[in-house]
């Protein structure tokens, strides 16, 4: 078997393991929800008791009142052993799957003797590998088992699409891509996308969590076992911040490369336009986040819009002929 075939085998293997991980993560979430119901019942009782005492003692401080409301208490949530075990299994599977995927990308790179992102298929797999790797590195430390499904499922979708729709034989590069900037510019872009993706998933969960904090639902679900909305929002912000720095670098590296390849560092080619659009939208998000009077929910909407632009940039702009520019390397 040659390297390219090995790369494909590893890709299929990683998809199988990711599927198992996805199931395990779902199983893990299923174990979280009832526990929440339990711990909320007790927390509620305790809170009522305390409320009684406090009312007797005078007006409670706002922060104390907050922790007494049901559903708002992410940190107070006690994870059951069952759910913890399932979470660990799911994480292990994800590590394995991500390792296989990264290995697949590396082998493909060795097989073709260049950075393995010269066409849409390679692009999609490498981006998925970056997301998987970033999640794997960060998940354990941050107790992100609850995030797993929301990361692994999109990875599987992207890999499936890559294999069915975008598949291209490992081949040589077009001359315009033969530059070490391909390695630098594109790999940083993937890393940025990986962080944007994590932030996007957490941002969505933040909105759901916030909504349910404001209007507590009749029946709690795993959402109530997540960290508080404020904490989710902060995490999403930190991830977006890292992604934004990486994206800034991508933009600059792209301009330097464009100068070398096309003679002008900026000429509003569609890919450049969208890279710029993404950058300005996230810059607006950063501003919203720092502006007093713009609430975090609104800034989160801006960040989500930014992610939509990221997706458009990696799909439509590469594939649809209205966006024809100088970046037509999709291999399609």
């Amino acid at each position: 078997m040659n390297l390219a075939a090995n790369a494909n085998a590893a890709l299929y293997a990683s998809m199988i393991v990711y599927t198992l991980a996805m199931l395990a993560f779902t199983w893990h979430l299923a174990a979280r929800a009832p526990t929440v119901a339990d711990s909320l019942a007790t927390a509620g009782a305790v809170a009522n008791e305390r409320e009684g005492v406090l009312v007797g003692a005078g007006a409670p401080a706002p922060s104390e009142r907050r922790s007494a409301t049901p559903y708002a208490a992410g940190p107070g949530f006690e994870e059951s052993i069952k759910s913890r075990q399932r979470g660990s299994i799911a994480l292990m599977l994800t590590y394995l799957a991500s390792a296989l995927l990264v290995a697949s990308v590396l082998m493909r790179g060795l097989a073709v003797g260049r950075p393995p992102w010269g066409n849409m298929f390679e692009f999609a797999t490498a981006a998925a590998a970056a997301v998987g790797a970033a999640y794997s590195v960060l998940a354990k430390r941050n107790n992100w088992q609850w995030l797993g499904v929301f990361i692994v499922t999109p990875i599987l979708l992207v890999l499936g699409l890559a294999l069915t729709v975008l598949y291209t034989e490992a081949g040589e590069l077009m001359p315009a891509l033969k530059s070490y900037w391909l390695g630098i510019h594109v790999s940083v872009a993937f890393l940025a996308v990986a962080f944007f993706t994590l932030a996007f998933a957490i941002g969505l969960l933040y909105l759901v969590r916030l909504r349910r904090e404001e209007k507590p639902p009749a029946k709690p679900s795993f959402i109530e076992s997540l960290p508080s909305s404020a904490s989710l929002e902060r995490t999403a912000y930190s991830l977006n911040m890292v992604a934004f720095i990486l994206w800034t670098f991508t933009l600059i590296a792209g301009a330097i490369w464009a100068k070398q390849a096309w003679g002008a560092y900026w000429q509003w080619d569609p890919k450049e336009v969208w890279t710029f659009v993404i950058w300005t939208v996230y810059a607006a998000y950063m501003h919203g986040r720092a502006t007093a009077g713009v609430d975090h929910r609104k800034s989160t909407y801006i960040a989500l819009a930014g992610y939509v632009a990221v997706i458009i940039n990696f799909t439509l702009v590469n594939l649809v002929s209205t966006f024809v520019g100088m970046h037509n390397y999709s291999g399609m």
Partner: protein, 577 residues
């Protein structure tokens, strides 16, 4: 403008206004909805100066910057959807031809020149003004903040985001000194407003970085402006074996910036010796995709200067006299000879045909003004690998010259109606008629290299001698690029500083143990003289409070470190004794 550098006033850090308190939002909505007698706020009369001031303040507010950034991102999108003249004028023309109803409007609104349109320019100019209007006052504020001392400790340290209280055996002044030592090590700036407390602040670099970032953005824009004013580009199509001497008149097209003196272009001489091109020949999806373009050239920095051999390829430009020479395109130049009826050569040239698709189906024109009695024009295609049957018209099926062929139609009449200048790649047929065969059908000429076609009537002949490649070279200078590059690097640096460094304030207050001060209450002065706890009994209560401008997981660690730092000193002292 929310450029407040005081962390205490940021609502994001104030727990009392933190969102997630159920009911608050809903309650507010109800209250607003129920207020029946909502009055318009009465504005004080401002006067012209006041209005200007007010407008300026609006323009330079962060909300406006946020809005303009979003607007800019939306405004940039149409330029990626509609064809743009600055990228491909030909596609714009096609688009206009295909959409005759909508395109005049789109054109008027600037949708084919988005990045030069008034509305796009208006947005970024406003943003630029807002940016400058923002940086200047913020820089002033920051400079004075850099020189100021941390503020007095608030009364109730327990109210701050992070706080801790420890009791230690150290005497109050020793405890305070220990806390100061920890803060010093963590690079805080310290100031004691009284003997029982210390105020500390760190993270001034955050605002410095933020200002550097915004300042560098203006640097990028200045670099772009310089490039626009002082840069120029010229394009040449150069066939193998041909020579090019650079001067304003010799470029096929030249676009100098408004401040460029075209008399001072670098006078280099470049000849194209050979253009190496390779295409993928393995069947499959990437069949026919390019693999290599490499132009082998001979370069002299001026006529008569020593010649050197240089290779120009994609991603590898060469530089001469501050101008970069890029290989941006390539194609074919069929060498065609036109003779009159007696066999005298009227035209013999390597004529560039411009590729239209990935398989280099190329279009071109041959103009023979010296033909008589009427001028002759040929227009049509060059096909590097012609599909032999022509069932779908002239089509090329591979980009390399595996089966080269030209397919031309012939016109006669006046080539240059009105003597107006025209493109060498199009034939103006306003005053020309297509040459027909005896049966009245249009003459269509198909030639392979070496073949000759006798034109009907006594019009002579046309021969396709051979085919050479041409290189599309672009010569460019951009004196603004280094400014933009340096600014971009500084912007990234500033961004990293501004986003990762946290602006923090930490306050420490000591009071003698058992002095009875309620938690967070003010310390009675003079309590410092109480006996030190040398005998190991608790002597001092240390209260620590920390504030940060935004989410800051590191703050708790600092508070903990100070709390731990106080007893640590005791342990050290016991060790030494």
């Amino acid at each position: 403008m929310s450029t407040d550098t005081n962390p205490t006033t940021s609502p994001a850090t104030d727990p009392a206004t933190a969102k997630g308190t159920p009911g608050t939002g809903a309650g507010e909505r109800v209250r607003k909805g129920m207020r029946p007698d909502r009055q318009e706020p009465t504005l004080p009369t401002l006067g012209t100066v006041g209005m200007l001031r007010w407008g300026w303040r609006q323009l330079t507010s962060m909300r406006t910057a946020l809005f303009l950034l979003l607007l800019l991102s939306i405004a940039a999108v149409p330029g990626s959807i509609f064809p743009q003249r600055n990228i491909d004028a030909g596609r714009v023309a096609d688009y206009i031809a295909q959409n005759p109803t909508s395109s005049p409007w789109l054109d008027k609104l600037g949708f084919f020149d988005v990045y030069a349109s008034p509305w796009f320019s208006a947005i970024y100019l406003l943003l630029f003004v807002s940016l400058v209007g923002c940086i200047v006052p913020r820089t002033k504020v920051h400079l004075s903040a850099l020189r100021s001392t941390p503020p007095r400790a608030p009364a109730r340290l327990q109210r701050l985001d992070e706080h801790a209280e420890v009791t230690t055996t150290l005497a109050p002044d020793e405890a305070l000194a220990a806390a100061r030592a920890v803060l010093k090590r963590k690079r805080f700036r310290l100031h004691s407003h009284d003997a029982t407390s210390v105020s500390a602040e760190s993270g001034y670099l955050r605002e410095t970085g933020n200002l550097l970032f915004h300042l560098a953005l203006t640097g990028i824009i200045i670099g772009m402006a310089v490039g626009h004013l002082l840069g120029w580009r010229g394009d040449i199509i150069l066939a193998e074996g041909d020579k090019f001497a650079s001067s304003a008149g010799t470029y096929n097209t030249i676009s100098p910036g408004p401040w460029v003196d075209t008399e001072t272009l670098p006078p280099f001489v470049l000849s194209l010796d050979k253009l190496h091109v390779e295409f993928n020949e393995t069947p499959g999806r990437s069949f026919g995709t390019p693999r290599l373009f490499d132009a082998q050239t001979t370069l002299q920095s001026s006529p008569g200067a020593p010649a050197s051999s240089e290779n120009v390829s994609v991603n590898h430009p060469i530089t001469v006299d501050g101008a970069d020479i890029f290989l941006l395109g390539n194609g074919y130049t069929p060498v065609i000879t036109v003779r009159d009826a007696k066999g005298a050569v009227l035209y013999r040239e390597a004529t560039p045909f411009l590729p239209q698709d990935g398989n280099y189906r190329s279009v071109g024109v041959i103009k023979v003004p010296s033909a008589s009695p009427k001028q002759l024009g040929f227009t049509g295609f060059f096909l590097p690998t012609a599909e032999p049957t022509f069932t779908n018209g002239p089509v090329s099926i591979f980009p390399d010259t595996n089966n080269p062929e030209v397919a031309l139609s012939v016109w006669e009449g006046n080539l240059f109606p009105g003597g107006a200048p025209q493109s060498v790649y199009t034939l103006n047929t306003d005053e020309m008629k297509q040459v027909t065969k005896a049966d009245g059908s249009p003459t269509l000429i198909r030639l392979k290299p070496g073949q000759t076609y006798q034109l009907p009537g006594d019009r002579g002949s046309i021969t396709f001698d051979s085919v050479k490649r041409f290189a599309g070279l672009s010569v460019r200078t951009d004196p603004g690029a280094p400014i933009s590059l340096v600014s971009a690097i500084l912007a990234t640096l500033g961004l990293i500083l501004g986003l990762t460094i946290k602006r923090r304030r930490v306050f420490v207050r000591v009071r003698p143990a058992g002095s009875g001060a309620a938690a967070g209450g003010s310390t009675p002065d003079g309590g410092l003289d109480s006996p030190a706890g040398a005998d190991g009994r608790p002597a001092t209560v240390v209260t620590i409070g920390g504030l940060s401008k935004d989410s800051d997981p590191g703050l708790a660690a600092i508070v903990t470190a100070i709390a731990a730092g106080v007893p640590d000193r005791l342990a050290e002292r016991t060790d030494r004794s």
